[in-house]
């Protein structure tokens, strides 16, 4: 479909009612814990209490009636004891050794849900502890090897141009080190799964999840079952944000093992403490920049070292690393650059997917570094960005040519105007001279690539179906899942628009691997853009069938379509049309050199934060936030605004509130009282604005937007805090205690005549 601009659109571009919205506002939506089955057992997990060691002895304390329990260990695994993903190094159940706190060792099940915690507590495990690695620095020192030969899951090295020559030409060499902490996805619905096993039909699981076919693949390997004996069904999912991309395979495996051993269906639902302590978090990161800059503030070249802490097993770290490395140069033109990226192992529970997936980390560093460059060269943060913005025809750090007419200069202008940046900056400069508040403005300019990297979409080979039904309606068949972002709504909009039908005439099947093809995981901001485009094709296929069969004329009314569809089904049974992803011919990618067209489309953004620091309490709060982004085409204004606002809220949390307190590899503040996410009283008005350039590779011109908003808030806010306090902060989260320490140190230095 060549059309990347909507002409005469009736549905796409309109905020139609959320497809499953009625069920959600009436409390009818069925999440996994709302579901029950006859003879259900409840499952619980016995987990490691130490970060690393050999399991010496397991004792079942006598106060529990163990005879009533189903007990599963690694020995009960029919297939491979792993949670299959990229590298099969993560055990489903620890066998002889553990490598992180909360690592699952045994599974228990019982009909009475209330007995599980007591039973879990009554399994005593003795360990022979081993030395532990807890930080990137400890890991890279190699004094203790905890994974592979060198604690390194993956490295990338990307080179463009001649960096070494750039040092010679530089008027300034600007260095900086920037770090980000772990972040908990904190979906309000905890992880949960139900599994049932039947010797003829195999395993069925129902759960809170993003990627039915990831779970499907993992269960096949674990249970040693063929594809048609594993069925995965997604229930309504109460938030995910990446936290239910890979982890559900683990909990599904656990429920499946208990179901297989007991012959009864098993439900495992985590409580908040278990979910926070045991499941994945955003990768902590450390980025080091060394940049050659000319005297007029232009980047000549640079070295970027990007390191992420992957936790104890590989899981998705190579892919997070990839995206972080590719985004490390941001929205600027680098004549030369060398990016060295590595993902290292520590004895923490494996870190995993979280909205943004490496880009929030490396873009935080870059956008802070741009403000540093500005200071060194003597330019404003605005000017230094203008002088380095990517322009159409230039190449990114992976040598991808920017082909669309993006004008970042104008985007920046508009963002500054919308946020009243200049007037506020002048005003604050005067106000900050006295009083107990300091105010500042900060900006971040960035991009976010949508879809799988490089050859990834080709590798996924997504398949989408659209079905004509007996009642004349049309049904979309995808494995893409709804978890709040609007998958069901937008894919139905696309099908309806394509076929000229009312939105109400289009349904979408539940994501059930027995019913839907593998349209790829619901990640990487790919659903509307990539899967949506396939929905368009498949929908056209339905039309073709009816046209070809003479049941429909070239132009038709919805009633005529319905009648034709009913006739077709009446004569030949339900009919489907399939669309298969084909990599566009103009997308070139070299997997070895990590060079080429990294993403089919980029969204571009400029975010502006207004921040107040209260010197009485040392707390920073965001008072106004302007988010301007170019997103191809807005297919559903309310949903799109909701995605951006929600992502920014999470970004504000990432920056100023959400700190994971670690001790010996275990999260200590795994409760909602102690892990602080912003409430309605903490967030500013978030003002969202869009520009639309279209996108030839996306459905109706759309680009992916789900993760974009995660990249901008942290650097914009910290840039604003520095503007307010004239103190540098290069690490997030930034808490009042940190601001207090920094201001105290600054005051002491000044008082003692130290550096000003």
């Amino acid at each position: 479909m060549k059309n990347d601009r909507i002409v005469d659109s009736r549905i796409v571009g309109v905020s139609v009612p959320r497809k499953e919205g009625r069920d959600k506002v009436t409390g009818q939506a069925q999440y996994v814990d709302d579901m029950t089955l006859p003879h259900l057992l409840y499952g619980g997990t016995v987990r490691s209490r130490i970060p690393r060691g050999k399991i010496r002895k397991i004792t079942f304390e006598p106060e529990i009636a163990w005879g009533e329990f189903v007990i599963v260990s690694a020995e009960d695994i029919p297939g491979k004891n792993c949670v299959a993903l990229i590298v099969d190094d993560q055990p489903c159940l620890a066998h002889e050794a553990v490598n992180h706190p909360e690592e699952p060792i045994l599974l228990l099940a019982h009909p009475d849900r209330h007995l599980l915690p007591k039973a879990v507590a009554a399994v005593s495990i003795e360990y022979d502890p081993l030395p532990v690695v807890l930080t990137i620095e400890e890991s890279e020192r190699h004094s203790e090897i905890i994974w592979g030969t060198d604690n390194t899951f993956k490295t990338y090295r990307m080179e463009k141009g001649d960096v070494d020559a750039a040092w010679e030409k530089a008027d300034y060499i600007v260095e900086g080190e920037y770090t980000t902490g772990a972040q908990e996805q904190l979906y309000i619905e905890n992880n949960g799964m139900i599994a049932a096993f039947d010797p003829q039909q195999g395993i069925t699981v129902w759960g809170s999840l993003q990627c039915p076919y990831y779970v499907h693949k993992a269960l096949m390997a674990l249970c040693n079952l063929p594809a048609d004996k594993v069925r995965v069904v997604q229930m309504e999912t109460g938030g995910a944000f990446g936290g239910k991309e890979e982890y559900p395979s683990m909990i599904a495996a656990h429920a499946a093992l208990l179901a297989m051993k007991s012959g009864r269906p098993v439900k495992i639902i985590y409580d908040r403490m278990e979910d926070m302590a045991a499941t994945t978090k955003r990768h902590p990161s450390r980025t080091r920049h060394r940049t050659a800059v000319s005297k007029d503030g232009k980047i000549l070249g640079g070295e970027i070292e990007f390191a992420i802490d992957g936790g104890a097993y590989t899981t998705l770290s190579p892919v997070v690393l990839s995206r972080g490395a590719i985004h490390a140069g941001g929205a600027y033109y680098w004549p030369s650059v060398r990016v060295s990226a590595k993902a290292v192992a520590t004895n923490a529970p494996p870190h995993g997917a979280f909205r943004g997936f490496g880009a929030p980390q490396s873009l935080f560093a870059l956008e802070r570094h741009m403000d540093r460059i500005a200071q060194v060269v003597g330019l404003s943060p605005i000017e230094v960005r203008r002088r380095n913005f990517l322009k159409p025809g230039q190449t990114t750090t992976t040598e991808q040519t920017v082909r669309e007419p993006i004008d970042l200069d104008k985007l920046l202008d508009r963002a500054l105007e919308l946020s009243d940046y200049r007037a506020k900056k002048d005003h604050f400069a005067k106000e900050n001279a006295s009083g107990t508040r300091r105010k500042g403005m900060g900006i971040a300019a960035f991009l976010h690539g949508a879809g799988f990297t490089g050859s990834g979409e080709g590798y996924l080979s997504s398949v989408v179906g659209v079905e004509g039904c007996a009642d004349g309606r049309v049904r979309v068949l995808v494995s893409s899942t709804e978890f709040g972002q609007g998958t069901k709504t937008v894919l139905c909009q696309i099908a309806a628009e394509t076929l000229g039908l009312p939105y109400e005439d289009v349904d979408i099947a539940q994501a059930d691997t027995d019913q839907v093809p593998n349209s790829g995981p619901t990640v990487a901001s790919r659903t509307v853009m990539v899967v949506g485009k396939l929905v368009q094709s498949a929908a056209l296929g339905i039309k073709q069938t009816l046209l070809g069969g003479g049941l429909l004329g070239g132009s038709y009314s919805p009633e005529e379509f319905r009648a034709a569809c009913q006739k077709q089904v009446g004569a030949r049974g339900p009919f489907r049309s399939w669309a298969h992803f084909e990599a566009p011919s103009d997308v070139f990618w070299d997997d070895e050199k990590y060079r080429g067209e990294a993403y089919a489309a980029y969204a571009w953004a400029v975010y502006v934060a207004e921040v107040t620091v209260d010197l009485t309490t040392y707390s920073a709060s965001v008072n106004d936030f302007v988010a301007l982004q170019e997103v191809g085409k807005v297919l559903h204004p309310v949903l799109a605004r909701g995605q951006i606002a929600g992502g920014i809220a999470q970004g504000i949390g990432y920056t100023l509130y959400e700190k994971v307190v670690w001790q010996d590899g275990r999260m200590q503040n795994g409760q909602m009282t102690n892990y602080i996410m912003p409430t309605s009283a903490d967030l500013p008005p978030i003002r969202v604005f869009f520009e639309e350039l279209g996108n030839v590779h996306g459905a109706f011109g759309a680009k992916g937007i789900g993760e974009l908003p995660m990249d901008g808030p942290a650097p914009a806010i910290i840039n604003a805090v520095e503007d307010a306090l004239k103190v540098r902060f290069d690490s997030i989260p930034l808490l009042p205690e940190d601001i207090f320490e920094a201001l105290t140190a600054k005051n002491e230095a000044q008082v003692s005549g130290g550096a000003r």
């Binding site: 069920d23 009436t26 409390g27 009909p111 606002a645 929600g646 809220a649 996410m677 409430t679 309605s680």
Partner: protein, 167 residues
């Protein structure tokens, strides 16, 4: 020794839920949340945190918004409970529900039942809240998806619908 397989809960108690009198058998320290969900099949109230922080278990008890995960069912004896299932008439959504649908107040939906009840409670006590008062009234209900903007807009829209409705 454990073994609740051998004996069942001994207490019988009654309360009104969504206008209907219900009798349950439960241990007195069973959480009202669990009684509603497991015994009465009213699964609209959700457990998000189990510690009264997220508000997704919110229900109205004798007209007051409470976190049902913190209420022992014995304390709900003879109370008048309203859950999300009791809002609006059968087959018809109330103003808040319509507004949440229109304005994007629900994304993943898990906080939505509690959020709508909190909003209903707010509007009942204060029919014309300012934006500040809306923020405060909903500050005990956490939403991870929306950033709250469209929730506030939903509440404002519900007020508009209510005020423009023909009596």
């Amino acid at each position: 020794m454990t073994g609740s397989l051998e004996h069942g809960p001994p207490f019988e108690l009654s309360f009104t839920v969504n206008g209907e009198r219900k009798t349950v058998h439960a241990y007195p320290m069973e959480r009202l949340l669990d009684t509603l969900r497991q015994q009465l099949g009213l699964t609209g109230a959700k457990e998000g945190c189990g510690e009264g922080e997220c508000g997704s278990c919110s229900v109205l008890m004798d007209g007051a918004l409470v976190n049902s995960c913190l209420v022992p069912v014995l304390q709900a004896r003879d109370a008048d409970i309203v859950t999300i299932e009791g809002l609006g008439a059968v087959g018809r959504l109330n103003d808040l529900q319509e507004a949440f649908l229109q304005c994007g107040g629900a994304q993943c939906g898990i906080c939505t039942p509690g959020m709508i009840l909190a909003a209903a409670h707010l509007l009942r006590k204060n029919p014309g809240p300012t934006m500040e008062e809306i923020r405060e009234g909903l500050s005990g209900n956490l939403c991870r998806c929306t950033g709250y903007m469209q929730i506030f807009e939903s509440v404002a829209e519900a007020m508009r619908r209510r005020d423009s409705a023909t009596p």
